[in-house]
Symmetry: C2
Subunit: 655 residues, 2 copies
């Protein structure tokens, strides 16, 4: 039976049928986030369940563990910073936090588990990473770089422009999955956004920080490296220039005066036309350390992005290989960065392609704090028209065996996870309703990277569409298959980049081939791909010897990454026995069939999914079908024209 | 010896050495343009020559022929509307115009011939086309669509913004080469520009029209077909809707009340996402005739663009062939258009590619007034970084033998020539100083299409750089070679389109191959090009049988257009004996050599060309060299990768 009480505005906080839990709320202590937890509990209980119990069964005791210990008379151990445990205690039920934030997080987890219909017993949890941060790429003109869910949640017309109650809803989503930082402005900082450091814009930033703080979310600000020039009128932004440092010091002092819990600065320097230390003949560490030194007294961090590469490359120069760039730039500097510098490293060496290997820089630096950056917004993965559940990609990264430093998730110097937001002003928040799963999964996995993509998907489906096994199984299945399906009809075997330049949606097999972005496949009539082994660009040598060996060798290289690491002839036989060419044809025909199969599944769920959400996704699946057909035909024609070899099965390829 | 009195602001009105002519000015009659001619004569004499004669040799009698007849006592025949004759008369010299505009034109021609150092005897001239119009693609935000010479001359910040004395200079340039209309706003009319029909914007438009009128230049306004919706708030723009017609009638009445000599409206309808009659299930003639009927009482024309094609084409659909579109849409409507409709037809069937055939629609319609549209701005022809003198292309069109309707320039139903402006706010007006030749040539050839590209080039060089044979010969040579050179290093043999999508500069051989714009070459490993013969898309059949036969046949098809009309194997032997592939390699290597040779020529002229102009062009030639090298390497690699066949001469091709 269709549940019509779905509200697009509510993401995973959807109304539940059945009866609300029957505890009497009993918060202890005066921590603001404990008080917030109690308020949220009351409000959510009031809105989520349509039926309220009349008889109370006991107390729900909420508090920091030390306060709770005083109530119960038992000495609770600390669940750690932001951690929590909850458990029954006689007739009562206790949520004990390592701090107030932990209480808030425990309360949300409890309520979401109740929403999921899970049985509630002893449970405790603490975050794997102290910093879990959302990066918005929002501009103050209201646009969102790589945004596919409408205009900015925060800005319009070169000014702040938001609905405070919607921001509170958003902050609730963040806290409910344990995200404790956001940066609301784009890493590509324009003149207008550079002005957030001062005056009226700073005052408005403070108001936003105040709202977020209610939910234990701390703000981070993206700053332009050359702010001293852009808004300060200085002649230089040289990090070793005394005047420049003084300028930053004054501004940092002012901003911390108004936002004492500011998380720090996020900086994209020397990257894609941005100024940076290189502009002044300095090292990346000189730039990052300048900020670090100035932020240190305030407990602030500098998130320093490692997306530094030559974006004016000459395609004719085969000695330059873009995937090498981050490692080549930063690895030699290991040990030179201050302790409150966090190098923010994209999960792969390219740029959020549908499939790429793990960045060899992650964990390679032994003396430098690192953040893993993932993209929740689907720039190259379907732009929230096509379904692409990203948790599998992230989980693969977390569990990647570095053959020397352990799994990525075990590396202690990775202290943060950053996700580029997929949210916007649309009523659904994410454009595609099912893309909400990606936002939820980011929170869950950055808290606990041991969770599987599958279990997180199930959680999200249950929370969003109610606990009906047919819905849960089918939608989870769609999410779990979505990555493979998208890969099938787009670029083959880790090649990446065969997209339309600029907007990055749809196929253009040679759109970037002679451009300056360093993204070449160099296909000719016999073979395709760049040899990145020791015989080629030597990129594989950036991995630890064990991992390098896996990728280096055609036989051990995961086939899904074959064309990332190797130049391969079209007649090369894959493990399936198929030629590379036939594999390309087959997967592209299959990809479209798979989309059709998803549409069938979705159609079969029509009566079981709230209409608003069902229609949204049905419309998106239709767009995905068109896109998959276009990709199939472009890619197949491209390779057919290149080789002249027809499909073995005689299916339609446009000549 | 370097002449340092060059002024970039002056285009072809450069200061001259030597002594000014010595007539005493003697205007007759009170026609405002006769008076203007006298004023201009005085001013130009005062600024162009550094030495003034002290003794007058006789009178320079300026006037409309009837007025002049009264002075001389001889009955002069009329030189026709806007025409003029000038000749010695005893000690006097007479400029007699068919009307005041003719006098103004005759004065400018005389002064320019004096500047050129020509001997002055009897001379008379009248325009081949009554309407010679510049189309600006300027937006009110100050940007210029396809503009490469800075911001708009007229607009900035959604408003008019110009220097009146610079507009007067511009109007002088226009009148000096006989251009009698301009449209200052883009054919892609946005909401802001649609507002030019009303209120304060209209008042400001009137001020601009007033300036232009001084120089006998009449304004034409580009209007949005759906203005009644955009600014009128109506529900429809259906040309057969009474309310819509009434809306236009009111606005036309108001604008003619303020600008009585308005030339009419320019309309881009049903083209590239613009609304048009098709939006309402009407014919193109319904739309054009609505405007024509309303403009008729005021003597206004509607310039109705024929750039109607499917810009959302599916590349998989080989039954649609974009070059057919204009003819297919408009030819069946011949006879249905009102007399004050002028169908504006691009010179070729594609879109101002470096080489394309003449549009088969030109002259095919026997009962419909037509305008030939050319592009002075170098969208696809080097963007005023690369040198491309366009007069050869235009001359070729004017002299194209339609095999049935005579040469294009002999077709009576072609009543207008429109040129898309290459001007902007830069001090040089055209960005590249030598691109000034294109603007000059547009005026000269639209007045007299029998002029050769070579003689116009010589005129312009002499006027701009002074009368030094070494300069004249060398720069004219550069201009005359420039088209061939550009063709050599860009797309081969009329193929077109191998440019970067969007901005259209630089090579991307498959950038448009799978896009929706209908611009495909469908290259595979054996052949390239679309068969547009009767066996293919049938495009050739749009030509008269005689012309069709020429293009239809591989042996008679001009080789420079071979790949426009035919699909050709790479091993096809051209008349030179070379294979198509080797021809491509050879021309691409040659193109770069030719650019180097131009640079050598330019370097050799350093002491003979004013420094400002020399440096401008030297800088541009350097950019052109980089561009030509990039094109050479991209195109050669592209075909090498496609075929695996190396260059016979073993030159460097990047693999």
């Amino acid at each position: 039976m269709r549940n019509n009480s779905y509200s697009a505005y509510s993401m995973w906080f959807q109304p539940k049928q059945g009866t609300a839990p029957a505890w009497e709320l009993f918060p202890v202590g005066d921590d603001s986030h404990v008080i917030k937890a109690a308020e949220e509990w009351t409000e959510l209980l009031g809105t989520l369940w349509d039926s309220k119990p009349r008889v109370k069964t006991g107390r729900l005791i909420l508090g920091v563990y030390s306060d709770v210990s005083r109530i119960t008379g038992e000495d609770l151990a600390s669940p750690g910073t932001e951690g929590y445990s909850f458990f029954p205690h006689g007739d009562d039920f206790i949520i004990a936090g390592g701090d107030g934030t932990g209480v808030l997080y425990g309360m949300y987890r409890l309520i979401l588990m109740l929403c999921e219909g899970k049985s509630i017993t002893d449970y405790n949890s603490s975050p794997a990473y102290p910093i879990r941060i959302i990066n918005h790429w929002d501009n103050m003109d209201g646009s969102v770089e790589r945004g596919y869910a409408g205009r900015s949640l925060f800005f319009e017309n070169e000014d702040f422009d938001y609905n405070p109650s919607r921001i509170r809803l958003y902050a609730r989503f963040l806290a409910s999955v344990g995200i404790n930082r956001i940066c609301i402005n784009n890493v590509n900082v324009g003149k207008c956004e550079a002005g957030l450091l001062e005056g009226e814009k700073l005052e408005k930033l403070v108001l936003m920080a105040n709202i977020l703080r209610e939910y234990a979310v701390r703000m981070v600000l993206a700053v332009a490296f050359d702010s001293p020039i852009i808004i300060g009128g200085l002649q230089s932004a040289d990090p070793l220039d005394g005047e420049v440092r003084a300028w930053w010091k004054t501004h940092v002092s002012e901003i911390y005066n108004k936002i004492p819990d500011l998380g720090g600065f996020l900086v994209k320097a020397d990257s894609e036309f941005r100024a940076g230390p290189f502009t002044y003949g300095r090292e990346q560490s000189d730039g990052a350390n300048m900020f670090a030194e100035i932020l240190l007294p305030y407990g602030g961090y500098v998130f320093w992005r490692c997306f530094v590469y030559n974006c004016r490359q000459d395609w004719r120069d085969v000695t330059v290989d873009r995937p090498r760039a981050a490692y080549d730039h930063f690895m030699p500097l290991d040990g030179k960065f201050a302790d409150n510098v966090i190098l923010q490293i994209k999960l792969g060496p390219s740029d959020f392609q549908p499939r790429e290997p793990v960045s060899p820089l992650l964990g390679a630096m032994k003396k430098t704090n690192q953040a893993l950056e993932v993209q929740i917004t689907q720039e190259y993965t379907g732009q929230q028209k096509d379904l692409y559940y990203l948790a599998g990609q992230w989980s693969e990264v977390f569990n990647f065996d570095t053959h020397g430093n352990g799994r990525i998730r075990e590396i202690k110097k990775i202290v943060a996870v950053a996700g580029v937001s997929n949210l916007g002003r649309e009523v659904t928040w994410t454009g595609h309703v099912l893309a909400g799963a990606n936002f939820y999964a980011f929170g869950r996995l950055s808290w606990n990277p041991e969770l599987s993509a599958q279990e997180v998907a199930e959680e999200w489906v249950k929370l969003t569409f109610g606990n009906n096994p047919e819905v849960t199984n089918n939608v989870t299945h769609m999410l779990m298959c979505s990555r493979k399906i998208f890969e099938k009809y787009t670029t083959p075997l880790g090649l990446g980049w065969m997209v339309n330049p600029g907007h990055h949606y749809g196929a253009s097999p040679e759109g970037y081939e002679y451009d300056k972005w360093g993204t070449y496949h160099r296909a000719d009539l016999q073979a395709i791909g760049v040899d990145r082994t020791a015989r080629g660009t030597g990129y594989t040598k950036q991995y630890t010897p064990g991992a390098a060996e896996v990728f280096e060798n055609l036989d051990t290289c995961p086939e899904e990454l074959l064309l990332y690491f190797h130049r391969v002839r079209y007649d090369y036989r894959l493990k399936s026995g198929k030629t590379l060419l036939q594999h390309i044809y087959d997967t592209h025909f299959e990809g479209v069939e798979d989309v059709l199969a998803m549409i069938d599944i979705w159609d079969s769920l029509k009566s079981l999914i709230p209409e608003e959400a069902w229609q949204n996704t049905a419309d998106k699946l239709h767009l995905q079908l068109l896109n998959s057909e276009e990709w199939r035909d472009v890619i197949n024609s491209y390779f057919y024209r290149k080789t002249g070899i027809p499909d073995e099965k005689g299916r339609k390829i446009y000549i």
